[in-house]
């Protein structure tokens, strides 16, 4: 689940949006250079916004511009109009939309930015001058790929925001109607982004890239089928599968390469489980996008592989950071706010003490039936948090190691700043 850290919401009515109905829903977050936003921002992560806004300057312009084009299309304007009808209902699509627009930097836009930064850090070989965006030091095709990455990720979040409607869930016809309508809009909006990504990818005229990025989309959709699910498809930890070092995958191209250990962390069933889930739901897309952008720049297979590893480790470090958040000191989660039951601290704790499954299993129908305050308390006292911190550190380090293959540059520095700001070492 996407529990992005709370940033201050800048409800600045945008001057750039000409369509009133879009503006009505979408108070666009950052009109121009984003340094102003960095200064005010959140107490708990002082460096994150600065790291991101510095990085944005390096690759030309705020990456939020990437999404501006599709935000202003007829179809999305249409969606905005329909979203209005849903205001007042509690369809999760509204929450998804809000999250995307207000916290964009933390989930969606940061991904495109990272793709652009690694593009610039790696430079490009023998590429047509017409193709280059000289000021930014990246190719137009790389910028397009960054946009595709963001669109695919967004579409996945939006599709994930559907409600499972089943007989008896909404006895009130008015509410049932609202929910069905919300699902329709969510499905169509996600499809719109997907179809746009297909067209954009096709226009790059590089079939290896189309194949690579499509396989990342495949992995994202597969992720939603892993393990036990409640009636709203929220994940619950399943009993851990035994270690399988030679993972017998039937997939022709599997991002789930077997791992022996992670730095000083031994491979355990819980780590294996967590890694599989998160490689499918995040690591694959960011890894393959980083790999793809290096391919576009004409780099060889070896460097492309490094790109994949960078994206994969960075997204896993980021996920570990998000998983930790509910367990940071002073977090309101101790009061019983729900959090992801398959997050690393919970998974590690379950491995340490499977008796926690007893509480978790109360959520088989709905994760809401679980006593979160209780689980929070138990996990806080166990070893899960320490393991998760180590997990984040190891993945951050792995990502840092990959950066060393690139020459010193402002883009490389920006990437390492982002890793540091994320809380890594």
């Amino acid at each position: 689940m996407n529990t992005a850290p709370a940033t201050i919401r800048l409800l600045r009515p945008s001057t750039m949006l000409t369509r009133n109905h879009v503006a009505a829903i979408v108070s666009y977050r950052r009109p121009y250079a984003s340094s102003a936003a960095a200064v005010h921002n959140s107490q708990q992560k002082p460096d994150w916004n600065r790291a991101v806004s510095e990085a944005e300057k390096i690759v030309g312009y705020p990456t939020s511009f990437l999404s501006l084009r599709w935000l202003l299309s007829d179809e999305i304007a249409n969606v905005a109009l329909h979203l209005r009808k849903l205001v007042g209902s509690n369809h999760p699509l509204l929450k998804t939309a809000k999250g995307l627009l207000y916290n964009g930097r933390n989930n969606m836009q940061a991904w495109g930015l990272i793709v652009l930064l690694i593009s610039k850090a790696a430079g490009h070989l023998n590429v047509d001058e017409m193709e280059e965006d000289k000021a930014a030091g990246v190719l137009h095709s790389q910028r397009a790929l960054a946009e595709v990455t963001e669109m695919i990720r967004t579409s996945h979040l939006v599709h994930n925001g559907l409600v499972n409607i089943y007989p008896g869930l909404y006895p009130e016809p008015v509410i049932l109607n609202d929910m069905a309508f919300g699902n329709k809009i969510a499905l169509l909006s996600g499809d719109y982004l997907l179809s746009n990504s297909c067209a954009e990818l096709a226009s790059l005229r590089n079939q290896d890239l189309v194949h690579l990025i499509s396989s990342a989309l495949r992995d994202l959709s597969e992720a939603e089928f892993v393990g036990r699910r409640d009636s709203q498809n929220n994940p619950l930890p399943s009993p851990f599968e035994p270690l399988n070092r030679h993972f017998n995958s039937k997939l022709p191209l599997d991002p789930l390469e077997s791992l022996d250990s992670l730095g000083s962390m031994p491979l355990t069933p819980a780590l294996q489980d967590w890694t599989r889930r998160n490689v499918l739901s995040a690591g694959s897309l960011l890894g393959k996008s980083c790999q793809g952008t290096l391919a576009l720049a004409g780099h060889g297979v070896e460097l492309q592989k490094q790109g994949f590893l960078f994206g994969k480790h960075l997204s896993l470090a980021w996920q570990a950071y998000l998983d930790l958040e509910p367990f940071m000191s002073g977090s309101p989660y101790s009061l019983g706010i729900s959090f992801n039951l398959t997050s690393a601290p919970v998974m590690f704790h379950l491995e340490h003490d499977p008796s926690l499954f007893e509480e978790i299993d109360k959520g088989v129908n709905s994760v809401k039936d679980v006593d979160y305050a209780k689980i929070h308390g138990i996990v806080m006292k166990g070893p899960g948090i320490t393991y998760t911190k180590q997990l984040q550190k190891e993945h951050s380090q792995k990502a840092m190691e990959v950066l060393e293959v690139f020459e010193e540059s402002d883009a490389r520095t920006a990437l390492s700043n982002i890793i540091v700001a994320m809380g890594g070492e």
């Binding site: 007829d74 249409n78 169509l188 597969e222 022709p252």
Partner: protein, 406 residues
């Protein structure tokens, strides 16, 4: 491969191509048998090929009905109508669903995803899209003096069916329908979120197959289908104020939701065959016209067919708030329909009243007339392709579409 031969080199290899022509209607599975036929001269080979076709037509006469289409008319009087494209393409089409299922099963380790993603590939569908695509591929190959069906061309047929199914799966969630093709629809059996993801999964696997065709322009052409489908779905959300606008809106929507898939997949087949732009345009226009005709007939059948024949409830469009051609035509005679269209038939009794008015008006006849017009145009376009059993089948497809009962 023969499909790669350029026009300059064509004369030199003409003879050897002719030797291979007898394989035209055979699939790769049977290609080993062809060794004997190689010894015979080119001319007699071509004759043999037609002879084979004739035998097929004769055996058709002995059968009571076509396998998948039931036609309204007695077809024995017209020699063309007795051609059954499905029979002609039996070898090429037989394993299409099996191969699609295999592709979808190989790409995931999750059993439930496999089950949902392959649910509609049970071989019970009409397979209209793969049939038309392969038919066009053969016809253009013949026109270009190429032989047989390229493996990639067969994949385009699979891709067309897969894109279609991915969109059906998402439509099921959007329309909340309980039945499709005579069985429970996916959204009735699995959770909506998983169904949505399964649709995305099919799209992803399809895109990977498209990439493996390794042809930049074909990828762009096939991606256009996906863009059109989604834009068509968006158009369905809104309705237009004036009658004129409304019909244009309906036709554009119909092109995007149905015809684009057929038009662009046959276009991709022609591109893979190495056809020139002019010929590629002919194939595209052919596909566009039969696609429009197909949907017009579909919209018509929604008013006349029984539930049993369609495998889904009738007048479903009205219940979804959609005004299709029969209603739009009926508006001319019964202007009271305009208000109902604008409120998407949502007031009690609207759907029933509209249904009745459509039947009282000329709406159904006019819809059929328009469908026939598109079919005539398709037939005219198919006439530009060199004569072959496949091209003849292309002439038959429009009749199958207009005369179908389900």
């Amino acid at each position: 491969m023969a499909s790669r031969i350029t026009s300059g080199a064509r004369l030199c290899v003409r003879a050897s191509i002719d030797k291979l022509v007898c394989n035209l209607s055979r699939s790769r599975h049977h290609s080993t048998v062809a060794a004997n036929d190689m010894a015979v001269g080119p001319r007699s080979d071509r004759l043999q090929c037609y002879q084979k076709q004739l035998n097929r037509i004769r055996s058709d006469h002995q059968r009571n009905h076509c396998r998948r289409f039931t036609t309204l008319q007695d077809t024995d009087t017209d020699s063309l109508s007795s051609i059954d494209p499905y029979r002609l393409l039996d070898d090429d089409l037989r394993d299409v669903y099996t191969d699609i299922r295999q592709e979808l099963e190989l790409n995931t380790n999750q059993d439930e995803l496999r089950t949902i993603a392959t649910y509609y590939f049970d071989g019970q569908g009409k397979a209209l899209r793969p049939m038309v695509a392969i038919l066009m591929a053969h016809a253009i190959n013949y026109h270009m003096n190429n032989n047989g069906l390229d493996k990639k061309q067969r994949e385009v047929a699979m891709i067309a069916e897969m894109i279609h199914s991915a969109s059906l799966i998402h439509d099921d969630v959007i329309d909340q329908s309980d039945f499709r093709r005579g069985k429970p629809s996916v959204n009735a059996l699995w959770s909506h979120k998983k169904v949505a993801m399964a649709g995305d999964y099919i799209l992803a696997v399809t895109s990977m197959m498209i990439a493996r065709l390794n042809h930049n322009d074909v990828t762009i052409t096939l991606s256009q289908i996906i863009t059109d489908l989604v834009q068509g779905e968006f158009m369905q959300l809104g309705s237009k104020e004036t009658e004129n606008e409304r019909f244009a809106h309906y036709l554009t929507k119909t092109y995007r939701k149905t015809a684009s898939l057929i038009a662009n997949s046959v276009k991709a087949e022609a591109m893979l065959a190495g056809a020139d732009d002019k010929l590629v345009d002919v194939t595209f226009e052919y596909g566009r016209n039969i696609g429009l005709a197909f949907q017009l007939v579909d919209d018509l059948l929604d008013f006349v067919s029984s539930k049993d024949a369609m495998g889904k409830p009738t007048a479903a469009d009205l219940k979804l708030g959609l005004a299709t051609a029969p209603v739009l035509f009926a508006c001319e005679k019964y202007p009271e329909l305009n208000a109902m269209i604008m409120r998407r038939f949502q007031e009690p009794g609207d759907a029933e009243r509209a249904f009745e008015l459509v039947h009282k008006s000329q709406g159904l006849e006019q819809t059929r007339f328009l469908a026939k017009k598109h079919c005539l145009e398709a037939t005219r376009l198919a006439g530009k392709i060199a004569e072959s059993p496949y091209q003849k089948s292309l002439l038959v497809v429009p009749d199958l579409i207009v005369n179908r009962m389900k």
